[in-house]
Subunit: 237 residues, 2 copies
DNA sequence: CAATAATTTTTTGTATGCAAAATTCAGAAA
DNA sequence: TTTCTGAATTTTGCATACAAAAAATTATTG
Protein backbone atom coordinates (compact mmCIF):
# COMPACT_ATOMS: atom_id res chain seq x y z
CA UNK A 1 0.00 0.00 0.00
CA UNK A 2 2.46 2.65 -1.11
CA UNK A 3 -0.30 4.79 -2.49
CA UNK A 4 -1.27 8.34 -1.74
CA UNK A 5 -2.68 8.56 1.76
CA UNK A 6 -4.17 11.17 4.00
CA UNK A 7 -2.65 12.18 7.28
CA UNK A 8 -0.36 9.19 7.38
CA UNK A 9 2.71 10.47 9.17
CA UNK A 10 2.62 12.17 12.56
CA UNK A 11 3.78 15.78 12.45
CA UNK A 12 7.58 15.49 12.40
CA UNK A 13 7.88 19.28 12.42
CA UNK A 14 6.38 22.32 10.75
CA UNK A 15 6.40 21.21 7.10
CA UNK A 16 8.69 23.45 5.10
CA UNK A 17 6.55 22.94 2.03
CA UNK A 18 2.81 23.15 2.52
CA UNK A 19 1.37 19.66 2.71
CA UNK A 20 -0.43 19.14 -0.57
CA UNK A 21 -4.10 18.49 -0.47
CA UNK A 22 -5.31 15.11 -1.62
CA UNK A 23 -7.67 16.40 -4.28
CA UNK A 24 -4.95 18.62 -5.73
CA UNK A 25 -2.59 15.69 -5.86
CA UNK A 26 -5.31 13.76 -7.66
CA UNK A 27 -5.90 16.58 -10.16
CA UNK A 28 -2.25 16.45 -11.22
CA UNK A 29 -2.15 12.68 -11.19
CA UNK A 30 -5.30 12.33 -13.29
CA UNK A 31 -4.20 15.04 -15.70
CA UNK A 32 -0.95 13.19 -16.21
CA UNK A 33 -2.72 9.91 -16.77
CA UNK A 34 -4.91 11.56 -19.39
CA UNK A 35 -2.17 13.47 -21.18
CA UNK A 36 0.17 10.47 -21.12
CA UNK A 37 -2.56 8.39 -22.71
CA UNK A 38 -2.84 6.01 -19.76
CA UNK A 39 -6.50 6.98 -19.81
CA UNK A 40 -7.50 7.01 -23.46
CA UNK A 41 -9.67 9.70 -25.04
CA UNK A 42 -13.31 8.71 -24.85
CA UNK A 43 -12.75 6.12 -22.14
CA UNK A 44 -15.07 6.11 -19.17
CA UNK A 45 -13.80 7.11 -15.74
CA UNK A 46 -14.96 4.44 -13.31
CA UNK A 47 -14.83 5.91 -9.85
CA UNK A 48 -14.38 2.62 -8.04
CA UNK A 49 -11.48 1.58 -10.26
CA UNK A 50 -9.74 4.95 -10.03
CA UNK A 51 -10.22 5.10 -6.26
CA UNK A 52 -8.55 1.73 -5.89
CA UNK A 53 -5.76 2.66 -8.26
CA UNK A 54 -5.05 5.90 -6.43
CA UNK A 55 -5.79 4.58 -2.97
CA UNK A 56 -8.28 7.30 -2.08
CA UNK A 57 -12.00 7.68 -1.48
CA UNK A 58 -14.49 8.97 -3.98
CA UNK A 59 -14.79 12.48 -2.57
CA UNK A 60 -11.41 13.90 -3.62
CA UNK A 61 -11.57 11.92 -6.86
CA UNK A 62 -14.87 13.46 -7.82
CA UNK A 63 -13.62 16.92 -6.92
CA UNK A 64 -10.60 16.39 -9.16
CA UNK A 65 -12.83 15.20 -11.98
CA UNK A 66 -14.93 18.35 -11.74
CA UNK A 67 -11.79 20.45 -11.91
CA UNK A 68 -10.54 18.67 -15.00
CA UNK A 69 -13.97 18.89 -16.59
CA UNK A 70 -13.73 22.66 -16.40
CA UNK A 71 -10.24 22.38 -17.86
CA UNK A 72 -11.73 20.48 -20.78
CA UNK A 73 -9.81 17.22 -20.37
CA UNK A 74 -12.87 15.43 -19.00
CA UNK A 75 -16.50 15.45 -20.05
CA UNK A 76 -19.30 14.99 -17.55
CA UNK A 77 -22.13 12.64 -18.46
CA UNK A 78 -25.16 13.37 -16.25
CA UNK A 79 -26.00 10.32 -14.15
CA UNK A 80 -23.37 8.38 -16.03
CA UNK A 81 -20.21 9.74 -14.52
CA UNK A 82 -17.46 11.15 -16.68
CA UNK A 83 -15.19 10.23 -19.53
CA UNK A 84 -11.87 11.42 -20.86
CA UNK A 85 -12.66 14.11 -23.41
CA UNK A 86 -12.62 12.59 -26.89
CA UNK A 87 -10.04 13.87 -29.32
CA UNK A 88 -12.15 15.02 -32.24
CA UNK A 89 -10.33 16.39 -35.25
CA UNK A 90 -12.75 19.28 -35.34
CA UNK A 91 -11.93 20.30 -31.79
CA UNK A 92 -8.23 19.93 -32.47
CA UNK A 93 -8.49 22.30 -35.38
CA UNK A 94 -10.38 24.76 -33.21
CA UNK A 95 -7.70 24.54 -30.58
CA UNK A 96 -4.96 25.17 -33.09
CA UNK A 97 -6.70 28.28 -34.29
CA UNK A 98 -6.76 29.59 -30.72
CA UNK A 99 -3.20 28.46 -30.04
CA UNK A 100 -2.16 30.42 -33.11
CA UNK A 101 -3.62 33.60 -31.69
CA UNK A 102 -2.11 32.97 -28.29
CA UNK A 103 1.35 32.22 -29.64
CA UNK A 104 1.22 35.36 -31.75
CA UNK A 105 0.45 37.37 -28.62
CA UNK A 106 3.12 35.50 -26.68
CA UNK A 107 5.65 36.17 -29.43
CA UNK A 108 5.00 39.86 -29.19
CA UNK A 109 5.06 39.98 -25.41
CA UNK A 110 8.07 37.75 -24.91
CA UNK A 111 10.23 39.97 -27.11
CA UNK A 112 9.19 42.93 -25.03
CA UNK A 113 9.11 41.44 -21.54
CA UNK A 114 11.47 38.49 -21.26
CA UNK A 115 14.67 39.05 -19.32
CA UNK A 116 18.00 38.04 -20.79
CA UNK A 117 18.08 35.26 -18.21
CA UNK A 118 14.72 34.01 -19.48
CA UNK A 119 16.04 33.84 -23.02
CA UNK A 120 19.21 32.15 -21.81
CA UNK A 121 17.08 29.53 -20.12
CA UNK A 122 15.11 28.89 -23.29
CA UNK A 123 18.37 28.66 -25.20
CA UNK A 124 19.62 26.05 -22.74
CA UNK A 125 16.43 24.03 -23.26
CA UNK A 126 16.92 24.39 -26.98
CA UNK A 127 20.42 22.92 -26.92
CA UNK A 128 19.24 20.07 -24.74
CA UNK A 129 16.57 19.40 -27.32
CA UNK A 130 19.05 19.56 -30.19
CA UNK A 131 21.30 17.07 -28.39
CA UNK A 132 18.42 14.61 -28.04
CA UNK A 133 17.60 15.10 -31.69
CA UNK A 134 21.19 14.31 -32.63
CA UNK A 135 20.98 11.11 -30.62
CA UNK A 136 17.63 10.20 -32.11
CA UNK A 137 15.97 10.19 -28.69
CA UNK A 138 12.44 11.05 -29.70
CA UNK A 139 10.73 10.96 -26.30
CA UNK A 140 13.32 13.21 -24.69
CA UNK A 141 13.32 15.48 -27.71
CA UNK A 142 9.57 15.80 -27.44
CA UNK A 143 9.78 16.63 -23.77
CA UNK A 144 12.20 19.53 -24.28
CA UNK A 145 10.29 20.66 -27.32
CA UNK A 146 7.17 21.01 -25.18
CA UNK A 147 9.09 22.74 -22.43
CA UNK A 148 10.48 25.31 -24.84
CA UNK A 149 7.05 26.28 -26.09
CA UNK A 150 5.59 26.39 -22.61
CA UNK A 151 8.50 28.40 -21.27
CA UNK A 152 8.35 30.83 -24.16
CA UNK A 153 4.72 31.59 -23.40
CA UNK A 154 5.42 31.81 -19.68
CA UNK A 155 8.21 34.30 -20.27
CA UNK A 156 5.75 36.58 -22.03
CA UNK A 157 4.83 37.71 -18.53
CA UNK A 158 1.09 37.13 -18.82
CA UNK A 159 0.01 34.41 -16.39
CA UNK A 160 -3.51 34.26 -17.78
CA UNK A 161 -2.17 33.67 -21.26
CA UNK A 162 0.20 31.00 -20.01
CA UNK A 163 -2.51 29.13 -18.13
CA UNK A 164 -4.85 28.97 -21.09
CA UNK A 165 -2.02 27.98 -23.36
CA UNK A 166 -0.99 25.12 -21.10
CA UNK A 167 -4.55 23.84 -20.93
CA UNK A 168 -5.10 23.79 -24.67
CA UNK A 169 -1.66 22.31 -25.20
CA UNK A 170 -2.40 19.45 -22.82
CA UNK A 171 -5.56 18.65 -24.72
CA UNK A 172 -3.73 18.39 -28.05
CA UNK A 173 -0.71 16.59 -26.67
CA UNK A 174 -2.81 13.49 -26.19
CA UNK A 175 -2.73 12.89 -29.93
CA UNK A 176 0.83 11.46 -29.62
CA UNK A 177 1.60 13.12 -32.88
CA UNK A 178 5.35 12.67 -32.48
CA UNK A 179 5.05 8.92 -32.85
CA UNK A 180 5.19 8.87 -36.64
CA UNK A 181 7.66 11.67 -37.26
CA UNK A 182 9.85 11.16 -40.33
CA UNK A 183 13.54 11.99 -40.17
CA UNK A 184 13.02 14.67 -42.76
CA UNK A 185 10.29 16.38 -40.82
CA UNK A 186 12.15 16.02 -37.58
CA UNK A 187 15.16 17.79 -39.06
CA UNK A 188 12.89 20.48 -40.38
CA UNK A 189 11.25 21.02 -37.01
CA UNK A 190 14.66 21.45 -35.38
CA UNK A 191 15.60 23.97 -38.05
CA UNK A 192 12.45 25.90 -37.31
CA UNK A 193 13.36 25.93 -33.65
CA UNK A 194 16.81 27.31 -34.50
CA UNK A 195 15.16 30.18 -36.30
CA UNK A 196 12.70 30.74 -33.50
CA UNK A 197 15.55 30.98 -31.03
CA UNK A 198 17.36 33.42 -33.33
CA UNK A 199 14.35 35.68 -33.61
CA UNK A 200 13.81 35.55 -29.88
CA UNK A 201 17.45 36.36 -29.16
CA UNK A 202 17.22 39.33 -31.49
CA UNK A 203 13.84 40.16 -29.91
CA UNK A 204 12.51 40.44 -33.44
CA UNK A 205 8.83 40.26 -32.62
CA UNK A 206 7.43 40.22 -36.15
CA UNK A 207 9.78 37.51 -37.36
CA UNK A 208 9.16 35.44 -34.23
CA UNK A 209 5.41 35.63 -34.72
CA UNK A 210 5.72 34.56 -38.32
CA UNK A 211 8.01 31.65 -37.44
CA UNK A 212 5.75 30.49 -34.64
CA UNK A 213 2.76 30.57 -36.96
CA UNK A 214 4.48 28.43 -39.58
CA UNK A 215 5.81 26.06 -36.95
CA UNK A 216 2.34 25.61 -35.52
CA UNK A 217 0.88 25.00 -38.97
CA UNK A 218 3.37 22.20 -39.52
CA UNK A 219 2.54 20.75 -36.15
CA UNK A 220 -1.14 20.79 -37.01
CA UNK A 221 -0.41 18.63 -40.06
CA UNK A 222 1.38 16.13 -37.84
CA UNK A 223 -1.42 16.04 -35.31
CA UNK A 224 -4.08 15.55 -37.94
CA UNK A 225 -2.14 12.71 -39.48
CA UNK A 226 -1.79 11.04 -36.11
CA UNK A 227 -5.50 11.48 -35.53
CA UNK A 228 -6.51 10.08 -38.89
CA UNK A 229 -4.16 7.16 -38.40
CA UNK A 230 -5.68 6.22 -35.06
CA UNK A 231 -9.34 6.88 -35.68
CA UNK A 232 -10.05 6.93 -39.40
CA UNK A 233 -13.56 5.68 -38.68
CA UNK A 234 -16.39 8.05 -39.46
CA UNK A 235 -19.40 8.68 -37.30
CA UNK A 236 -21.26 5.86 -39.03
CA UNK A 237 -18.96 3.32 -37.38
CA UNK B 1 -37.98 26.11 1.60
CA UNK B 2 -38.34 26.84 -2.08
CA UNK B 3 -34.69 26.12 -2.66
CA UNK B 4 -33.02 23.69 -5.02
CA UNK B 5 -33.67 20.15 -3.90
CA UNK B 6 -32.65 16.70 -4.98
CA UNK B 7 -35.13 14.08 -6.03
CA UNK B 8 -38.02 16.03 -4.62
CA UNK B 9 -40.89 15.22 -6.94
CA UNK B 10 -41.98 11.67 -7.71
CA UNK B 11 -41.54 10.75 -11.38
CA UNK B 12 -44.56 12.33 -13.04
CA UNK B 13 -43.43 10.94 -16.39
CA UNK B 14 -40.30 10.60 -18.50
CA UNK B 15 -38.74 14.06 -18.08
CA UNK B 16 -38.70 15.80 -21.42
CA UNK B 17 -35.64 17.76 -20.41
CA UNK B 18 -32.89 15.84 -18.64
CA UNK B 19 -33.10 16.45 -14.93
CA UNK B 20 -30.20 18.71 -14.09
CA UNK B 21 -27.66 17.48 -11.63
CA UNK B 22 -27.39 19.30 -8.36
CA UNK B 23 -23.73 20.16 -8.64
CA UNK B 24 -24.23 21.53 -12.14
CA UNK B 25 -27.09 23.67 -10.93
CA UNK B 26 -24.80 24.91 -8.18
CA UNK B 27 -22.01 25.72 -10.63
CA UNK B 28 -24.31 28.04 -12.57
CA UNK B 29 -25.83 29.50 -9.44
CA UNK B 30 -22.47 30.22 -7.83
CA UNK B 31 -21.04 31.63 -11.04
CA UNK B 32 -23.98 33.99 -11.26
CA UNK B 33 -23.57 35.06 -7.67
CA UNK B 34 -19.92 35.82 -8.31
CA UNK B 35 -20.38 37.63 -11.61
CA UNK B 36 -23.33 39.61 -10.29
CA UNK B 37 -21.22 40.72 -7.36
CA UNK B 38 -23.43 39.04 -4.77
CA UNK B 39 -20.23 37.33 -3.70
CA UNK B 40 -17.56 40.03 -3.75
CA UNK B 41 -14.06 39.51 -5.13
CA UNK B 42 -11.74 38.34 -2.39
CA UNK B 43 -14.55 37.27 -0.08
CA UNK B 44 -14.30 33.90 1.56
CA UNK B 45 -16.65 31.09 0.57
CA UNK B 46 -18.01 29.63 3.78
CA UNK B 47 -19.34 26.18 3.02
CA UNK B 48 -21.86 26.10 5.83
CA UNK B 49 -23.33 29.46 4.86
CA UNK B 50 -23.52 28.63 1.17
CA UNK B 51 -25.04 25.23 1.86
CA UNK B 52 -27.77 26.84 3.89
CA UNK B 53 -28.34 29.54 1.31
CA UNK B 54 -28.61 27.02 -1.52
CA UNK B 55 -30.34 24.32 0.49
CA UNK B 56 -27.85 21.59 -0.36
CA UNK B 57 -25.18 19.54 1.33
CA UNK B 58 -21.47 20.20 1.18
CA UNK B 59 -20.61 17.57 -1.41
CA UNK B 60 -22.14 19.16 -4.52
CA UNK B 61 -21.10 22.60 -3.28
CA UNK B 62 -17.49 21.56 -2.98
CA UNK B 63 -17.58 19.97 -6.42
CA UNK B 64 -18.97 23.18 -7.88
CA UNK B 65 -16.25 25.18 -6.16
CA UNK B 66 -13.56 22.99 -7.69
CA UNK B 67 -15.10 23.50 -11.12
CA UNK B 68 -15.16 27.27 -10.72
CA UNK B 69 -11.61 27.23 -9.39
CA UNK B 70 -10.46 25.75 -12.67
CA UNK B 71 -12.49 28.40 -14.45
CA UNK B 72 -10.59 31.03 -12.51
CA UNK B 73 -13.51 32.65 -10.70
CA UNK B 74 -12.54 31.02 -7.40
CA UNK B 75 -9.20 30.54 -5.70
CA UNK B 76 -8.52 27.53 -3.50
CA UNK B 77 -6.76 28.15 -0.20
CA UNK B 78 -5.26 24.88 1.08
CA UNK B 79 -6.87 23.93 4.41
CA UNK B 80 -8.67 27.25 4.39
CA UNK B 81 -11.36 26.63 1.81
CA UNK B 82 -11.84 28.95 -1.08
CA UNK B 83 -12.45 32.57 -1.90
CA UNK B 84 -13.87 34.50 -4.80
CA UNK B 85 -10.94 35.33 -7.06
CA UNK B 86 -9.76 38.86 -6.31
CA UNK B 87 -9.99 41.40 -9.07
CA UNK B 88 -6.43 42.61 -9.39
CA UNK B 89 -5.75 45.33 -11.92
CA UNK B 90 -2.74 43.37 -13.13
CA UNK B 91 -4.82 40.30 -13.89
CA UNK B 92 -7.45 42.42 -15.58
CA UNK B 93 -4.82 43.87 -17.88
CA UNK B 94 -3.57 40.38 -18.67
CA UNK B 95 -7.08 39.26 -19.48
CA UNK B 96 -7.64 42.20 -21.79
CA UNK B 97 -4.49 41.36 -23.68
CA UNK B 98 -5.79 37.82 -24.23
CA UNK B 99 -9.31 39.04 -25.02
CA UNK B 100 -7.77 41.27 -27.65
CA UNK B 101 -6.18 38.31 -29.38
CA UNK B 102 -9.34 36.26 -29.12
CA UNK B 103 -11.57 39.01 -30.49
CA UNK B 104 -9.17 39.53 -33.37
CA UNK B 105 -9.44 35.85 -34.21
CA UNK B 106 -13.19 35.94 -33.73
CA UNK B 107 -13.46 38.95 -36.00
CA UNK B 108 -11.68 37.11 -38.75
CA UNK B 109 -13.64 33.89 -38.34
CA UNK B 110 -17.05 35.48 -37.93
CA UNK B 111 -16.71 37.31 -41.24
CA UNK B 112 -15.87 34.03 -42.90
CA UNK B 113 -18.19 31.62 -41.10
CA UNK B 114 -21.26 33.41 -39.78
CA UNK B 115 -24.50 32.78 -41.63
CA UNK B 116 -26.67 35.68 -42.73
CA UNK B 117 -29.12 34.59 -40.05
CA UNK B 118 -26.37 34.86 -37.44
CA UNK B 119 -25.61 38.40 -38.51
CA UNK B 120 -29.31 39.24 -38.54
CA UNK B 121 -29.56 37.99 -34.97
CA UNK B 122 -26.65 40.16 -33.90
CA UNK B 123 -28.23 43.10 -35.67
CA UNK B 124 -31.46 42.50 -33.76
CA UNK B 125 -29.54 42.50 -30.48
CA UNK B 126 -27.83 45.68 -31.57
CA UNK B 127 -31.11 47.51 -32.13
CA UNK B 128 -32.43 46.32 -28.80
CA UNK B 129 -29.30 47.72 -27.24
CA UNK B 130 -29.65 51.01 -29.07
CA UNK B 131 -33.24 51.31 -27.86
CA UNK B 132 -32.18 50.86 -24.26
CA UNK B 133 -29.45 53.44 -24.77
CA UNK B 134 -32.01 55.90 -26.12
CA UNK B 135 -34.13 55.35 -23.00
CA UNK B 136 -31.13 55.65 -20.72
CA UNK B 137 -31.62 52.15 -19.35
CA UNK B 138 -28.08 51.33 -18.39
CA UNK B 139 -28.56 47.85 -16.96
CA UNK B 140 -30.52 46.63 -19.95
CA UNK B 141 -28.08 48.31 -22.30
CA UNK B 142 -25.25 46.53 -20.58
CA UNK B 143 -27.00 43.19 -20.86
CA UNK B 144 -27.48 43.46 -24.62
CA UNK B 145 -24.00 44.83 -25.05
CA UNK B 146 -22.61 41.73 -23.41
CA UNK B 147 -24.83 39.49 -25.47
CA UNK B 148 -23.67 41.07 -28.70
CA UNK B 149 -20.03 40.45 -27.92
CA UNK B 150 -20.66 36.90 -26.75
CA UNK B 151 -22.83 36.13 -29.75
CA UNK B 152 -20.29 37.57 -32.14
CA UNK B 153 -17.63 35.27 -30.80
CA UNK B 154 -20.00 32.32 -30.80
CA UNK B 155 -20.87 32.93 -34.43
CA UNK B 156 -17.21 32.60 -35.33
CA UNK B 157 -17.88 28.88 -35.30
CA UNK B 158 -15.10 27.91 -32.91
CA UNK B 159 -16.58 26.50 -29.71
CA UNK B 160 -13.21 26.37 -27.95
CA UNK B 161 -12.65 30.04 -28.67
CA UNK B 162 -16.14 30.90 -27.45
CA UNK B 163 -15.75 29.01 -24.20
CA UNK B 164 -12.48 30.66 -23.28
CA UNK B 165 -13.85 34.05 -24.24
CA UNK B 166 -16.90 33.61 -22.04
CA UNK B 167 -14.74 32.59 -19.10
CA UNK B 168 -12.41 35.57 -19.31
CA UNK B 169 -15.33 37.88 -19.92
CA UNK B 170 -17.08 36.67 -16.78
CA UNK B 171 -13.98 37.39 -14.75
CA UNK B 172 -13.77 40.97 -15.97
CA UNK B 173 -17.46 41.65 -15.82
CA UNK B 174 -17.30 41.63 -12.04
CA UNK B 175 -15.64 45.03 -12.15
CA UNK B 176 -19.07 46.67 -12.71
CA UNK B 177 -17.35 49.10 -14.99
CA UNK B 178 -20.60 50.35 -16.49
CA UNK B 179 -21.61 51.99 -13.23
CA UNK B 180 -19.77 55.24 -13.82
CA UNK B 181 -20.27 55.65 -17.55
CA UNK B 182 -20.53 59.24 -18.70
CA UNK B 183 -23.12 60.21 -21.30
CA UNK B 184 -20.38 61.19 -23.66
CA UNK B 185 -18.62 57.84 -23.40
CA UNK B 186 -21.87 55.97 -23.59
CA UNK B 187 -22.74 57.68 -26.85
CA UNK B 188 -19.28 56.92 -28.15
CA UNK B 189 -19.58 53.25 -27.27
CA UNK B 190 -22.86 53.00 -29.15
CA UNK B 191 -21.25 54.66 -32.15
CA UNK B 192 -18.48 52.10 -32.03
CA UNK B 193 -21.06 49.36 -32.00
CA UNK B 194 -22.73 50.86 -35.07
CA UNK B 195 -19.45 50.66 -36.89
CA UNK B 196 -18.81 47.14 -35.69
CA UNK B 197 -22.19 46.08 -37.01
CA UNK B 198 -21.44 47.76 -40.34
CA UNK B 199 -18.13 45.99 -40.73
CA UNK B 200 -19.71 42.69 -39.78
CA UNK B 201 -22.55 43.17 -42.25
CA UNK B 202 -20.02 43.89 -44.97
CA UNK B 203 -17.96 40.97 -43.71
CA UNK B 204 -15.00 43.33 -43.76
CA UNK B 205 -12.67 41.30 -41.56
CA UNK B 206 -9.78 43.76 -41.31
CA UNK B 207 -11.98 46.69 -40.43
CA UNK B 208 -13.93 44.62 -37.93
CA UNK B 209 -10.74 43.52 -36.20
CA UNK B 210 -9.52 47.08 -35.99
CA UNK B 211 -12.83 48.33 -34.61
CA UNK B 212 -13.00 45.53 -32.04
CA UNK B 213 -9.48 46.33 -30.88
CA UNK B 214 -10.25 50.00 -30.36
CA UNK B 215 -13.53 49.21 -28.67
CA UNK B 216 -11.79 46.84 -26.29
CA UNK B 217 -9.11 49.42 -25.53
CA UNK B 218 -11.80 51.91 -24.53
CA UNK B 219 -13.47 49.31 -22.39
CA UNK B 220 -10.19 48.61 -20.64
CA UNK B 221 -9.99 52.26 -19.65
CA UNK B 222 -13.47 52.05 -18.15
CA UNK B 223 -12.67 48.87 -16.26
CA UNK B 224 -9.46 50.26 -14.85
CA UNK B 225 -11.23 53.39 -13.68
CA UNK B 226 -13.88 51.30 -11.96
CA UNK B 227 -11.18 49.26 -10.33
CA UNK B 228 -9.20 52.24 -9.11
CA UNK B 229 -12.36 53.83 -7.79
CA UNK B 230 -13.30 50.79 -5.71
CA UNK B 231 -9.90 49.69 -4.47
CA UNK B 232 -7.42 52.53 -4.69
CA UNK B 233 -5.52 51.07 -1.75
CA UNK B 234 -2.05 49.74 -2.46
CA UNK B 235 -0.56 46.55 -1.17
CA UNK B 236 0.77 48.36 1.89
CA UNK B 237 -2.77 48.70 3.25
C1' DC C 1 -33.70 -18.89 -31.33
C1' DA C 2 -34.69 -13.74 -30.95
C1' DA C 3 -36.75 -10.29 -28.39
C1' DT C 4 -38.55 -8.41 -24.49
C1' DA C 5 -39.51 -8.19 -19.51
C1' DA C 6 -38.07 -8.75 -14.88
C1' DT C 7 -34.46 -8.95 -11.65
C1' DT C 8 -30.01 -8.38 -9.81
C1' DT C 9 -25.74 -5.91 -9.70
C1' DT C 10 -23.08 -2.02 -10.36
C1' DT C 11 -22.39 2.75 -10.52
C1' DT C 12 -23.41 7.27 -9.66
C1' DG C 13 -25.25 11.42 -6.89
C1' DT C 14 -25.92 13.34 -2.49
C1' DA C 15 -25.85 13.56 2.50
C1' DT C 16 -23.61 12.77 6.69
C1' DG C 17 -19.88 11.62 10.06
C1' DC C 18 -15.39 12.23 11.94
C1' DA C 19 -10.76 13.98 12.54
C1' DA C 20 -7.27 17.53 11.48
C1' DA C 21 -6.49 22.24 10.81
C1' DA C 22 -7.59 26.91 11.39
C1' DT C 23 -9.89 30.49 13.87
C1' DT C 24 -11.77 32.72 17.84
C1' DC C 25 -11.79 34.15 22.35
C1' DA C 26 -10.84 34.32 27.33
C1' DG C 27 -7.45 35.07 30.55
C1' DA C 28 -2.53 35.76 32.11
C1' DA C 29 1.75 38.23 31.73
C1' DA C 30 4.40 42.19 30.27
C1' DT D 1 -3.64 48.74 27.40
C1' DT D 2 -1.15 45.40 24.45
C1' DT D 3 0.62 41.01 23.64
C1' DC D 4 1.03 36.19 24.40
C1' DT D 5 -0.93 31.60 25.47
C1' DG D 6 -3.98 27.93 25.40
C1' DA D 7 -8.44 25.99 25.43
C1' DA D 8 -13.19 26.16 23.02
C1' DT D 9 -15.30 26.67 18.60
C1' DT D 10 -15.66 26.62 13.86
C1' DT D 11 -14.36 25.13 9.43
C1' DT D 12 -12.29 22.31 6.31
C1' DG D 13 -10.75 17.72 4.16
C1' DC D 14 -11.69 13.11 3.53
C1' DA D 15 -14.27 8.80 4.18
C1' DT D 16 -18.41 6.50 4.35
C1' DA D 17 -23.47 5.56 4.06
C1' DC D 18 -27.54 5.41 1.51
C1' DA D 19 -30.79 6.03 -2.34
C1' DA D 20 -31.67 6.66 -7.25
C1' DA D 21 -30.24 5.65 -11.79
C1' DA D 22 -27.98 2.86 -15.14
C1' DA D 23 -26.10 -1.44 -16.71
C1' DA D 24 -25.84 -6.26 -16.76
C1' DT D 25 -27.92 -10.53 -16.14
C1' DT D 26 -31.48 -13.82 -16.04
C1' DA D 27 -36.09 -15.23 -17.03
C1' DT D 28 -39.90 -15.42 -20.06
C1' DT D 29 -42.60 -15.28 -24.11
C1' DG D 30 -43.47 -15.40 -28.97
Amino acid sequence: MDSIQARAAPPAAAPLVERRLLHEEVIDRLRDMIVQGELAPGSKLNERVLCERLGISRTPLREAIKYLASEGLVELLPNRGAMVAPLESETVQEIFAVLGSLEALAGELVCRNASDADIAEIRALHYQMVAHHARGELAQYFRYNQQIHIRLVECAGNATLAQIYRGLNAHVRRARYMANLSHERWDKAVKEHEEILDALSARDSKRLQSLLRDHLANKLVLVMEALNANEPRTKTG
